[in-house]
């Protein structure tokens, strides 16, 4: 196989975009929360919940759009619970996040065992509809016709605009940088933190739903750390939408490249390849792209 020929092909590009989507949605979710000063390492857990709820309701109702709506709603409710713990009760955000991750993984398994008598996966479900006609294009059509992927791409300029050019963004950032100063100017800091966490719940819901829809089922462990990689991408991207975009593209491209290199049969240890994205994260973190600076009041309960 000519690996270099394949890398410039449309199917390779499509693969990168597919891998990119959950990363960017997750990273963007984490970013909105942290911009408001609430660390959200529960992205993984939120993705599990939404993926599971989507699959569960799709099996029970058979209607994917209704399941999409229900899964998003439930995830936003969970993000409200997360804000109740972190904003209202001021519990340590890392501890809460870890707790949520463990709870969601266990709860999904528990409910699955009750309903489907299987601790590992749900029955097969239908995937979300695609835009007709475009989906028939060879190679990349399915990707271009996917509503959530399109939304993810629109999300980059939208979040850039929202964070830097609107009143909402300014106040959200002020809540994350200097909440005392913001409050002295009449901003309801807690409300803005809450909005950030809710946006986080909404976006991570889309990531989970997309994954479940793409593999046509929910299975235990299917999120496979994508939530954590998303957070790493956010840090590498220095909490800026366009930088996060490139970080996610980098992660996705490396993963796709690793798959291609493996099947090309070139004798290269695949352990090294699977390590590469993480290695790059570490290299980046120790200062190859300059200092990464989180919002000043990130993680401090207010």
């Amino acid at each position: 196989m000519d690996i270099f020929g394949y890398i410039i092909s449309l199917s390779f590009l499509a693969q990168v975009l597919r891998l990119f989507t959950p990363y960017y949605l997750g990273a963007s979710a984490a970013n909105f929360s942290e911009r408001g000063g609430v660390i959200n390492i529960a992205i993984e857990g939120f993705m599990i919940t939404s993926a599971f709820c989507y699959a569960l309701f799709a099996v029970l109702t058979g209607n994917v759009l209704l399941s999409l709506f229900l899964a998003v709603t439930i995830n936003i409710l969970f993000s409200l619970l997360y804000s109740a713990f972190t904003i209202k009760l001021k519990i340590n955000q890392i501890v809460t996040g870890v707790g949520f991750n463990l709870l969601m993984a266990g709860l999904a398994k528990f409910i699955m065992m009750l309903i489907f008598r299987s601790s590992s996966n749900t029955p097969r479900i239908e995937s979300l509809p695609h835009i007709p006609f475009i989906a028939d294009m060879p190679g990349i059509g399915k990707v271009l016709a996917d509503y959530i992927i399109i939304f993810t791409f629109l999300l980059v300029p939208i979040s850039q605009y929202l964070i830097y050019k609107t009143k909402f963004g300014l106040r959200l950032r002020s809540a994350g940088e200097n909440p005392a100063a913001a409050e002295s100017l009449g901003v309801n800091v807690r409300n803005y933190k809450l909005y950030g966490v809710m946006l986080s719940g909404f976006l991570s819901a889309l990531a989970g739903i997309w994954l479940a829809s793409n593999q046509n089922s929910f299975s235990d462990g299917m999120i496979a750390g994508r939530g954590y990689i998303a957070i790493a991408a956010m840090i590498i991207g220095k909490w800026k939408p366009w930088n996060i975009f490139w970080a996610c593209i980098m992660f996705a491209a490396f993963e796709a490249f690793e798959i291609s290199l493996q099947i090309s049969g070139i004798n290269f240890p695949s352990q090294l390849l699977q390590m590469l994205p993480y290695l790059i994260t570490v290299l980046v973190l120790i200062g190859f792209i300059g200092k990464t600076k989180p919002p000043a009041a990130d993680g401090i309960p207010y």
Binding site: R18, L89, S120, N121, A224, Q262, Q271
Partner: protein
């Protein structure tokens, strides 16, 4: 401040209520389970313990096959059983120990090569109990025939022989002269599948290329269907028209890709026709259910023997699926040639591992 304390107290109360409800629900279902088991309890029944592998019950392959064996034994031998599904964590050893220390359990199974070391140790600790380990891995450094305790039967499948046969079917059926392989965790036992498959493909079709890839280097590779699907997509896009997987749940992703590309996948461990009807060329099966049933039966009839039990084509421990579902996908000539290869392997004329 007082206000918050009030809220915090309320949270505590509501958490307690939630916990109580969850326990109640769990107990309710647990009771349901017990009742069905008690139906069989006439006189003192033999009790069997079993601990599942990564993936757990409902993985539609390995673990489900083991469970089927237990159910068959329950129906035909009238035994009782108790299973533990440890999920992720490294608490396999404590699960085994828990079952072994229950006085009414006579024989305990560990499903999966992951149990190899733990079950050897625990079998030595409980010499009066019997143990069975499916997919026991014998590595020259740690374990040899001698170190297996007498109360442990190591069930070793010759996956390479079964994989050789499905490889031959793939090599004879492919139109593009490219076939794929997806492994779950990069490890000795999965390499056995890969090598057998590759050798089978090469034996019938030396021109054919095998594109192979592994999901991960850890056990997580058996439960990442998202990545399984991406690997399969790459392989199909690169011209492969048949892919064989040995990757547990990750294989579900491969079958989804097979549906999308309208190409073939080959299942593993169990007949996986139902994963993507019409796109499953065949499945390499290990009769995990039958072996567990047989071991329980031997135990019940006091014929239990320790040591290694090797299960290949000859012992009908591994096979491939050829039934009404996939008859139309495998041509008569392919079938005939594959059966000739089977005879040669059984006679030892073909080496499946090289």
């Amino acid at each position: 401040m007082k206000n918050y304390k009030f809220i915090a107290d309320h949270f505590r109360v509501s958490l307690l209520v939630i916990c109580a409800v969850l326990f109640a629900v769990q107990n309710f279902f647990a009771c349901g389970n017990k009742e069905t088991k008690d139906n069989n309890q006439g006189d003192k029944k033999l009790k069997v313990g079993l601990v599942f592998d990564v993936g757990g019950r409902g993985d539609k392959s390995f673990n489900d096959a083991a469970f089927k064996g237990l159910e068959k034994a329950q129906k035909e031998l009238g035994i009782q059983f108790e299973v533990i599904d440890p999920g992720d964590g490294a608490d396999r050893e404590s699960a085994l120990r828990k079952l072994a220390s229950k006085p009414d359990i006579g024989i305990i199974f560990g499903v999966g090569f992951i149990f190899t070391e733990d079950i050897t140790r625990i079998a030595e600790e409980f010499p009066d109990k019997k143990f069975g380990c499916v997919d026991y891995t014998i590595t020259p450094q740690n374990f040899s025939e001698k170190t297996i305790p007498a109360n442990l039967t190591a069930l070793v499948f010759k996956e390479d022989e079964g994989s050789f046969l499905v490889g031959a079917i793939a090599g004879l059926t492919t139109k593009t002269n490219k076939v794929g392989f997806i492994g779950g965790m990069e490890s000795g036992i999965i390499k056995k599948f890969e090598n057998g498959y590759k050798n089978g493909v090469m034996y019938v079709n030396p021109e054919c290329k095998v594109l192979s890839a592994y999901v991960s280097v850890t056990g997580e590779g058996f439960k990442n269907p998202g990545k399984g699907k991406e690997i399969a997509t790459s392989q199909y896009s690169n011209g492969a028209d048949i892919i064989y997987h040995a990757s547990g749940l990750s294989g579900i992703g491969m079958f989804e890709a097979a549906r999308e590309f309208k190409k073939f996948g080959i299942g593993v461990d169990m007949d996986q026709w139902n994963e993507a009807e019409g796109y499953v060329l065949t499945s390499m099966t290990k009769i995990v259910d039958e072996v567990i049933y047989q071991t329980i039966k031997d135990f019940k009839e006091n014929k239990f023997t320790g040591g290694i039990r090797s299960l290949g084509l000859k012992e009908k421990g591994v096979d491939y699926i050829y039934d009404d579902n996939n008859k139309s996908l495998i041509t008569p000539t392919v079938r005939e040639k594959t059966e000739q290869i089977r005879d040669k392997i059984i006679k030892g004329e073909i080496k499946t591992t090289q």
